[in-house]
Symmetry: C2
Subunit: 263 residues, 2 copies
């Protein structure tokens, strides 16, 4: 079982990825983002995204009801359905689902983020949270009947409200549920870079035991990604490939070991 | 088996409909529109919908690729996922799907519409068409496992492209596939009106045999609706209720026979 995560960047070669996946024999599940699309849509609708910075220095998108509306349009609507359409064009019998559908991805809502407003400390609570489990029974129902699930945010919280979450965390709970051995993460870079501004500084391989050390070297969103990767190994993944989603044959490249291989 | 069609008008009481459905024991499938939402979104994005008028005088929305994008956002994205969320809040185990997902609704693309451009006759081909069949096996897979399908456009054509279609026609192929005996159509009016500007002119019942005569009396979109209703009877529906989707308890009202009952 392979989990293929398609990043939400503007230059990801989605058509190439889907065409490539049509040649894969092993069963797989697709998880995709749409952050560039969401940001553009929010801008076009005159409600540009707001970023919250916690007192500890972590930043995150402020996910109010309006942002969730935009996410439903960008992730679960336009991006998900165009991917599903592309899949069928290549003979992949795709079914696109958000985490809300059949409670596919269940999570818990964040209690609130401590932020400074001027000099005042305030707790802001939005519709964001962490995924905790997936609906394994619905996943297997689809997979066993020949359908390829194409999953995306939002997910559903403990009170049945739609919440935003990190797709990397969705991949983590999905890998755990499906006991997937391989995770392919297609991003807008050749893989993990020693120096993020230098494409030639690609790190070709990282041992699972090195991940903790790497986690200390990086910052912000990348730190969260490293943490998510470490957990994947703790859960039993045997191979994670972070590879270039902009290439002509991103999946073939990834399976051939191009990019950063963590094993 | 009941098919509940929720109209896409601005004043439809979606929350009331879903709350109401939570009390229904018989199995049902939901089909929904989102035309007011689509039109507003298209306006907000600076690409207002264009209407084509055929040489025969029929008018239809010009469904180019951009309009399909907007439909995916409005119907399959925002409206579908908010309905699914509402369902879960009321204990309904909903799975939202467009006609693309698992090829749930398959159709054929229109060959083109003959329109006048100035004095020139031109054939314009867009991404619109007619639904022909539904994926009965996927529907039963979901229903038999306790999920309530929540369906919407776009659908998929014979070349696996996304196309726009009339939700009334989707209801027709769905009724045929599921052999649903009851179809509830929730609209922004008390039912069929003798005089469309007079809410008091409600037609309380129409016999199936009267439908053909009624079809001759009405025009434009309503004519198409009447035709779709006539076909439902030919296919074996025993009861169609067109009822007020703006009411507090639209489903209870409909099942109590409020609105226009065709039987």
């Amino acid at each position: 079982m392979i989990i293929v995560k398609i990043g939400g960047g503007k230059t990801i070669n989605i058509a190439g990825i889907i065409e490539d996946l049509a040649g894969i024999d092993e069963p797989y599940v697709i998880v995709h983002g749409a952050n560039a699309l969401r940001d553009k849509l929010a801008e076009d609708l005159g409600q540009p995204k707001q970023v919250l910075t916690s007192v500890k220095g972590y930043s995150s998108v402020y996910s109010d009801e309006k942002l969730l509306d935009v996410m439903m349009m960008a992730y679960a609507g336009l991006r998900n359905k165009r991917i599903v359409e592309l899949c069928h064009r290549h003979g992949i019998n795709a079914v696109g689902l958000s985490g809300l559908d059949g409670k596919m991805v269940r999570g818990t809502r964040n209690k609130g983020i401590r932020v400074y407003q001027g000099k005042k400390l305030k707790i802001v609570r939005d519709f964001s949270g962490k995924p905790r489990s997936v609906n394994t029974s619905l996943l297997h129902l689809l997979l066993d009947n020949g359908y390829v699930p194409v999953l995306t945010v939002p997910i559903i919280d403990e009170h049945n409200a739609a919440i935003n979450t990190e797709n990397d965390d969705v991949v983590r709970v999905l890998q755990e549920a499906l006991k997937a051995d391989t995770v392919i993460n297609l991003i807008e870079a050749p893989g993990f870079l020693e120096n993020k501004d230098d494409a030639a500084s690609l790190i070709k391989s990282i041992s699972a035991s090195d991940l903790a050390a790497r986690e200390q070297q990086v910052e912000g969103r990348m730190k969260r990604k490293m943490l998510a990767l470490k957990k994947l190994f703790e859960q039993g993944a045997s191979r994670i490939i972070i590879s270039d989603g902009r290439a002509d044959y991103p999946v073939t490249d990834a399976l051939a070991g191009n990019g950063t291989v963590i094993a």
